[in-house]
Homo-oligomer: 466 residues x 2
């Protein structure tokens, strides 16, 4: 088989309309669609409308579906040749909170290009990666007046807060969303120049722990030593979540873990991964984690339990001698197949109940959860994805895992019975949930080409398999 | 010996001028002299001037002595009969930060009387207790035109932030501050109606721990499990500060502790203290602490290690999946004789160095310290204090300890070679460092009488002992 290439007609159109693409992406990124903050609800609605308008301009039948949270945009184009398959492209228009603002080099909602990177909140997660599919569709429709497959686009606005309303929507709209494959670009390539197909995602169980002791803050001198300190009790509780070696010490935590096949582990170990480079990238002088696994295995194949936030007592300048009435921790577990988020929350509750000392109560509030996922790596959409990425980047993609969570992947597969292809264009160090988030402009451009080629490749592979 | 009484002339004057006293105290409390906050420097200066003006009106020679921090007010009245002793009355005009403001029933700097309590930041700690001495001096001078002893008043403005500049001042001004006894009212009575002489204070070693890991906040999915989490590392570090039973587990922590005499412990156990009442007062359903000691012993005679504040990562609404770059804890140890604050900070540093995991650094910053103190309970000033309290409250005082710290007590004793009498009029539950701080109005009034009687009793006791 000859090496795949990007169809010349599509490539030429994309080249010619590059400035238009970047301008449209900038406009999309300027909308502060922070789904976690109630005060940004109107901005989330504006971002949904932005996607809807873009699809409508391409000739899609578009609906902006309200939910109890932020709306879901559905665009449908069903004019492909008889027998052509249907592909569902999913992305999200909401973004993480931008705080702490002081750490951004340029403001989070003013896109700025520096050294080949486009900086903005949402640039890589996920507005840029959603937008490149819209550009691929635009290229096909502009050049050929048609698409080689039927396309459904689903863009939601609650991915960063747990996609609470997406799965019920998919379930209710099963018939309308029926498809042969789902394509999602919301992930990271293994390294610059190395296109990647993502074969596994970790799930998530996120809880808040509220430790409460005395009715009010107390003077630490007059009460300290006899009244149990909720902040110290919370620290001691958090310390019970791991054993001395770094394994999670919550009873039953690993019971449902299905080990990754040795072949997959071997392939992961063969990837050109350098701990020293990873340490330099993150700015640490040593790594840690569960014993017996490489860094990539820890990130991709093993579950975790992390503190995401802590707050108690006096945190200002200087010394205040307060015995705080309460202490809060945000704790999230990353999950791997076949751990279940609800079951993990139940284990955390039981663990907390066993370890909280007398004199303090600890309330456990589940904030959100998502199932882990592992792909079958075969079939027409996987073959098409391999060839499209090969064409765009000039080399075969590698197979990777990822430590992050896209809870909806499992929902799509389960509810629609269609395989999911995860074809991401982010890069390590992209600061997806941190200040100075960026996307490689070159990756964005190659992404538009890969997404355009994918539709041709999938139409061919599906016909060949059929 | 007949039971002591408040001299009738002084009592009558204090009765007649009660409204004036309360108005003046209200004015003092309205000044937000928060020493911990730079923006309140002018208010601290105003509070110092308030004290200076009050002393000047009484005929004291007054100086407002600048320091690199807030000023020290010194008032001197040296016209007593030949052979009369000199007593130094110490108090502080600065107050704790009032935050969290939302938890105050009435604003912290708008004094409000409700149900026999005067609510305001500083009402009991220590403006009210300093002011009652000014009123006692006023009574003597108004009624008799003289004082039975020479009096030096020292009012500082940095007690709540560690009294950094007071000890050097005392040392430099040893000759000017030379005295036969020091009297301080900045403590709490054992219970309503039970006057108390305080025989011991805990010291303090207060540090801030700054744990730092990656150079910036990271996505907890993409990095979690391989990059050591500074918030979790800090929690695990804090958990090493105590053993499972509640003893402080910092190596060498108890080495310098000189046990309280069995007679003192026996007297403490005989005090009418009720754990159930203490639990109800603080709003907890169980107590904790070092095994083998009663609650009062834990509070008065044993050292502690407490978390006063925690801050890391995301602490807002909802879920943010961040692996924080840093985590902060404020930690303070209460000390008992003969623990030394600097030595304890050194032990904490060594403990942290031994327990911090690879991949994280923890910086230990000493914020302030104070020596613990224990009194000899004999001599003219103690006899005078017993009788003055007996006269004001109609019963003998009990001997108590206190868990809080007044670091300067030891400094006065060491630098001036004079015994210190701690005669406090606060009450349990007074919220000294918390919202809704209050002083009992009845205690304040009895305090003015006790302070007035003390000068007569001390002149007599000193003459008798001489």
């Amino acid at each position: 088989m000859t090496p795949p290439v990007i169809p010349a007609d599509l490539a030429a159109w994309l080249d010619a309309h590059d400035a238009e693409a970047m301008a449209e992406l900038h406009a999309f990124l300027r909308i502060p669609s922070v789904s976690a903050r109630r005060e940004h609800a109107a901005n989330c609605a504006a971002a949904a409308q932005f996607v809807a308008d873009a699809l409508a301009r391409l000739g899609f039948a578009v609906a902006v579906e309200p939910t109890p949270g932020h709306p879901i945009v559905v665009g449908e184009w069903r004019h492909a040749a008889p027998g052509a398959p249907t592909v569902l492209i999913y992305g999200h228009y909401d973004v993480q909170p931008p705080e702490p603002l002081a750490l951004w080099t340029s403001p989070p909602f003013e896109p700025a290009e520096r050294d080949g990177r486009l900086y903005a909140r949402g640039s890589v997660d996920d507005k840029g990666q959603l937008h490149l599919h819209l550009r691929a569709l635009a290229a096909h429709l502009a050049v050929r007046g048609t698409l080689p497959v039927n396309v459904i686009v689903v863009a939601e606005g609650e991915e960063e807060v747990g996609s609470e309303h997406l799965a019920p929507f998919i379930e209710r709209e099963r018939a309308r969303l029926a498809c042969d494959a789902v394509v999602i670009s919301d992930s990271t390539m293994f390294a610059p120049g190395i296109p990647s197909l993502l074969s596994s995602l970790r799930g998530m169980a996120y809880v808040q722990l509220d430790a409460r002791g005395p009715a009010g803050d107390l003077h630490s001198g007059m009460y300290g030593g006899a009244v149990v300190n909720p902040a110290m009790a919370l620290a001691r509780l958090l310390a019970t979540f791991h054993d001395a070696d770094g394994r999670v010490a919550v009873d039953g935590f690993y019971d449902a873990v299905r080990p990754f096949p040795e072949a997959v582990r071997a392939q992961m170990r063969a990837l050109p991964f350098d701990d020293a480079h990873f340490m330099a990238e993150t700015g640490v002088d040593a790594l840690g984690g569960e014993p017996g696994y490489t860094t990539l295995e820890r990130l991709w194949t093993r579950p975790t339990c992390e503190v995401n936030g802590l707050l108690a007592g006096y945190t200002g300048e200087g010394a205040k001698t307060v015995l705080p009435a309460a202490a809060m921790a945000k704790v999230s577990c990353r999950l791997v197949p076949d751990q279940d988020p609800d079951a993990i929350v139940a284990l955390l509750r039981a663990h907390v109940a066993r370890h909280v000392p007398p004199g303090v109560t600890v309330e456990v509030t589940a904030l959100h959860g998502g199932r882990p996922w592992r792909a079958e790596l075969r079939g027409p959409i996987v073959d098409a994805g391999r060839r499209a990425l090969h064409a765009a980047f000039g080399r075969e993609p590698v197979i990777t895992g990822e430590g992050g969570s896209i809870p909806v992947v499992g929902d799509f597969e389960r509810l629609l019975g269609a395989p999911v292809l995860l074809m991401g264009f982010g890069l390590p160090g992209e600061n997806a949930h941190a200040p100075d988030e960026w996307i490689s402009v070159d990756n964005y451009r190659r992404g538009t080409r890969a997404a355009a080629a994918l539709l041709d490749e999938y139409a061919r592979a599906h016909a060949g398999a059929g």
